[in-house]
Symmetry: D2
Subunit: 389 residues, 4 copies
């Protein structure tokens, strides 16, 4: 039987049988097949690519997309639960699946032509093609509107020029969804990574999310044919819709990372004896553990409600911002409290906590920093835009 | 149409028609009939007793108890929503109803004889009898086990001796549920307040919950007949069950107080101009408002889930502790943030915020302080008792 | 011997003999002569005016001004220590002295004519004339630049029109320093409060700083003679210089309020038994007490360093902002922690804590809110003005 | 001229000429000689041993010890300033010097025989011998009283058995100060690392303080001669005195790490443009920067006062606990805020911030965790010991 995660408010019973099944499958995969590799992968700064076929086989790529394209047609809640379980393993693992599912397969499905869908989605679902998402640029992280990459019409297609940065999976991708200005509108393009003029360079020196490949993409007069444009794109709405998908998954993923830290710290505190008693019996330690379980419980309720709204087609991007912002920020706090409970041992990579803590610094920043989401919600509730102020 | 309260995650749609109705009724009552009195009542340190018949008429006393006793037979969620709306008005108003419903009518219903139920519950539901709950003592607030009040068998009944402190409604009650040691077991007794040997003295000098009557009860050889003992009592389990009922309602009430502060601060910020723009457009102000809405949303989800568990007969006291602790502590933070947004105006009683802030200091303390609930949950998750340490 | 206040870093030895003397004098006065009146004054919303002659006699009005004007010629550190001790009693007491010293006597001394100085300063030092400071207006609290009150030249003097709000001592003052626009420059004027066209109305409904008189001042074609203008004024620099004086004193005062809360909570925790041990021996209580002493110690070091810089003529207003912002915000946190330690008793006015907590809400707001000081320092360190943004 | 560090309260002028000189020397060394190596050293998990001769030459080993032993005879404040500047580079650099100075040279000086002093101190001052400090054990981090390592008398000396963990410099040391139970008293022993029965194993998998060598020491019937015992030891007082020395230096070091983060974040914010303005001009960013400078300023005042007390021979260990606890905890918060300001770039090791943030997790834990110091101070102020509770 797979491991029991914290569920203080019996949220288990609010899930469907199918949702529990997919969650348990993901949990078992992470425990049995992913955990044995993570310490080494993290030290080396690599993603364990050998697991891709298994991730595909288990249906974790594009799980909410229709079965017609080889996907699972699962609910958004099921997708959230997969994200949660993968990030219980490592944020890098969840990031790999998020990019493939929410940032590549989703836009192909939502904005692509039928030919694009038929060509890419089944292969991606099977893990035979890996994608990446080229939106952010060196000078424009949380403000995609400042984009400088351009597409120009040229001989039956387009020529792309520019640089993209912070691109997860950039160096392992077969295709990149690239966002570029074409006649002052932002369009999405499918760029096979073996095209001339395309170059990916892995970024080194990361102290976070090390079990994930992060790259810079360079486009130097990179030509792509007309049919590589995603026909449904043409404004910032399309990439923002992708970000909403990804943020939704992140809100669940953070619960997984937080739970892993909580569980580890709880077990450690129950076993670690100081002054002849387990430290779990000390008030200052209980205070930390209680803070963790309270915030995990609230995050669980947020994401579940969000998922139900999403499945009902009623979710607003600002609601997603709230869960992404809250759940990641709280997961980061939880990781810090957990690390503290472990004392000196908390800095060793044989325990997962400090790794999660370091990862969550990235997760708190990407797909909209904490402050960006704060101002998105602030604008929503007050009616005033405070971004430029 | 009554006023619209914050509902960022569309929780409205998770309520039944009946639950919405009872909530709207309570909300309208508070706005139209309670608000006009609160500033004066708070200044004077009194409860507006003239509203008792209306509270009864609207079904706010013992709303979850059976119709057979003149009550509404409503769901726990409906009861929670009533608490929420009453505390949107003032914590003192919700306290009045909480005591009557959760701490007096509930134990009579749960631990009383059929004669006790028939005698008291219908009158209490109609507001013709008011009750109070005598558990805490001068030296034992959050540790009821230290109780010193005694009952001794005497001529067909019992003689009570001792002092109770912090008793809401003590001076306006017709009957007190009094907890006392009888042969070293804790029993509950119904004490009519006109009995010889009973005296209630109102506590003066409160800087919080001023629109609520708080008293000391003195029992000096106070005789009561045999039939005044609640037959279902005889251990700490009974009063603790009462506290769980009350804490459940408080967890909802805190949402009401927090929402009132949020709404007031939001409207104020939208209207207050500084440096030629409404302050709602400034980042530092949005930060506060966003913090508020995030915590209100999470508190709403906690209490709703708790209520559904309660209605399903599955709730555990520790789960109630979590919501009571979290929701009140967050309401207090929200009130402080709101007061800050109002600047100098935030200290004036024409705005409800500082009053709520002061009230919540009491609410955070009574029925188990924040730290007591922390250690209750801490024991639950770790298996170690840290109270005495 | 007067009471021993917290001094964890032996700051006592850094004071001169004279500074210690003046501090001890103030401390003894507060304990012996002020404390017996404060509960009643606070309940009634009045300032104990009968103490004014004693405050004067002890040299607490304008203590840093020259002896030539009947003042004590003390150091800024001595002035700070007086503020600290007075606010240990009540923020309202310190406010009374601050207004008289920093906001009335200081501008007369710094910007007044010799005639104005000779006329007012000795009388004020003796407490025979009380002053108030009319700067803030109903719509302009933390942004004095938005001032609407006007002065117009008329028959040998000026006519003032406008409204001032949040004016400490407005209803008990003999003279008001009023700031008004004259030909688009801001000048200061001495307005005797018995002049036609002047009216002061006490503000009621305050839930903070109740032992202090707060007023609205109305100027309706109020004529004053030419010689009532403070000749050294003519821009915002003059009132801002006054604010700096007051903020400096507040930074010290907050230490006094915080210390009073700390001392009360410590003694309470040492005496209050729960589960058979004093609560001072519990980790969660020690955590709060330690947080308090740490922040008190840091605030003491900040104010002392600030005072030495001030006495050396080297202090910058932004340095004062830092101490005002920090010390009051931390005092407020300390008061809240202290209130929590006292449990239910913490809301009773027989203990000073909740009163200090309520007062500090005002102190955190007036003379520049916490956010205003944050942005003053932010501008200073970054070089960018973020006020209007 | 060396780089200008934050000094908001003009603390510079409170230093002696000599103190400024030593500080500037250390600062220049770090900038010019250490910084070029740190990124590589951190990635590789090594300490740049090639810098040891320069550290010695500059007088950074045992700087407060007498010139008679080849040391500098500097003030405690000067020693603090060296620690501050070294940790501005990296906590691992400061740790190296702290161990050598406070944990090895200090106990030899304070508890050693004249022969031990003459033999070791001059060589250590010259960097020709490196020491380590063997106190903590696998199961006893913050509770050294639980020590299991034993010394037994044997053939003209002692035989040591046991394991020490978390030993900085263990694998690069020439000599270890080892604490062991001898007939139930704790004594200190000098153990040359080439003795049979001694083994040091470097700990791998650290995600913090990577530019520092951390080891486990194994003693397996390790014989040392009689004269290797430190004659002044024989109770826990001696190792605790060493810890006080080290903690004192750490309190200063944390200021250096915090300042490095602040400076980097400030410059970054001034240069990083978002929505056409540098982010240093946004309120949410200024809020973070102001929080940093406030806490840095307070930490500076704490450590300086502490140093002056130490130089006057008046310091108490509990006062040191306060500065160690506060300054490191605040440095950690500052590092987190700084990382956040840098957004995605904040996770790259080309910026020093995340490295400092990771390091400070260790610094917050070693030489007494934050909670341990909390309870040390708690006991001091309340008179009640809450460690075992």
């Amino acid at each position: 039987m797979p491991y029991e995660a914290p569920d203080y408010y019996a949220i288990e019973e609010l899930l469907t049988e199918e949702e529990r099944l997919v969650r348990d499958t993901a949990r078992r995969f992470v425990e049995e097949e992913f955990q044995p590799h993570i310490v080494e992968a993290y030290r080396n700064g690599t993603f364990p690519m050998q697991l891709v076929p298994r991730l595909a086989e288990l249906g974790f790529f594009g799980p909410t997309l229709p079965e017609a394209y080889g996907c699972a047609g699962a609910s958004s809640v099921a997708y959230g639960l997969i994200s949660q379980e993968l990030e219980r393993g490592d944020s890098g693992l969840r990031s790999f699946a998020s990019v493939q599912s929410s940032l590549v397969m989703y836009p192909i499905f939502a904005f692509g032509s039928e030919a694009q869908k038929s060509n890419w989605l089944p292969r991606m679902a099977r893990g035979q093609a890996i994608g990446c998402f080229g939106l952010t640029e060196p000078d424009f992280g949380s403000n995609p509107a400042g984009m400088r990459t351009t597409a120009k019409r040229a001989k039956g297609g387009f020529v792309l020029d520019g640089v993209k940065r912070w691109i997860t999976n950039g160096n392992v991708a077969d295709v990149a969804i690239v966002w570029a200005r074409l006649e002052d509108k932002v369009h999405g393009f499918l760029v096979e990574t073996d095209r001339p003029g395309f170059k990916a360079e892995q970024m080194h020196g990361k102290l976070s999310l090390r079990a994930s490949v992060t790259s810079e993409l360079y486009f130097d007069k990179c030509w792509i044919p007309e049919e590589n444009r995603l026909p449904g794109t043409g404004s910032m709405k399309a990439p923002l819709a992708c970000l909403s998908q990804a943020r939704y998954g992140i809100s669940w993923g953070a619960i997984g990372a937080a739970s892993a830290c909580y569980d580890c710290a709880l077990r450690y505190a129950q076993g670690r004896v100081m002054f002849s008693r387990p430290i779990a019996g000390y008030q200052l330690v209980q205070r930390k553990l209680v803070e963790m379980i309270v915030e995990i419980t609230k995050a669980q309720l947020l994401s579940l409600r969000l998922g139900r709204l999403k499945d009902a087609g009623k979710v607003r991007p600002e609601q997603i911002s709230l869960a992404k912002m809250n759940n990641v920020a709280k997961a980061l706090e939880i990781a810090r409290l957990a690390r503290d409970i472990l004392g000196g041992n908390g800095i060793m990579d044989e325990y997962p906590i400090m790794r999660h803590m370091m990862n969550l610094e990235t997760v708190n920043t990407y797909e909209g920093t904490e402050d960006v989401h704060r101002l998105i919600i602030g604008k929503d509730i007050t009616g005033f835009d405070a971004f430029g102020s």
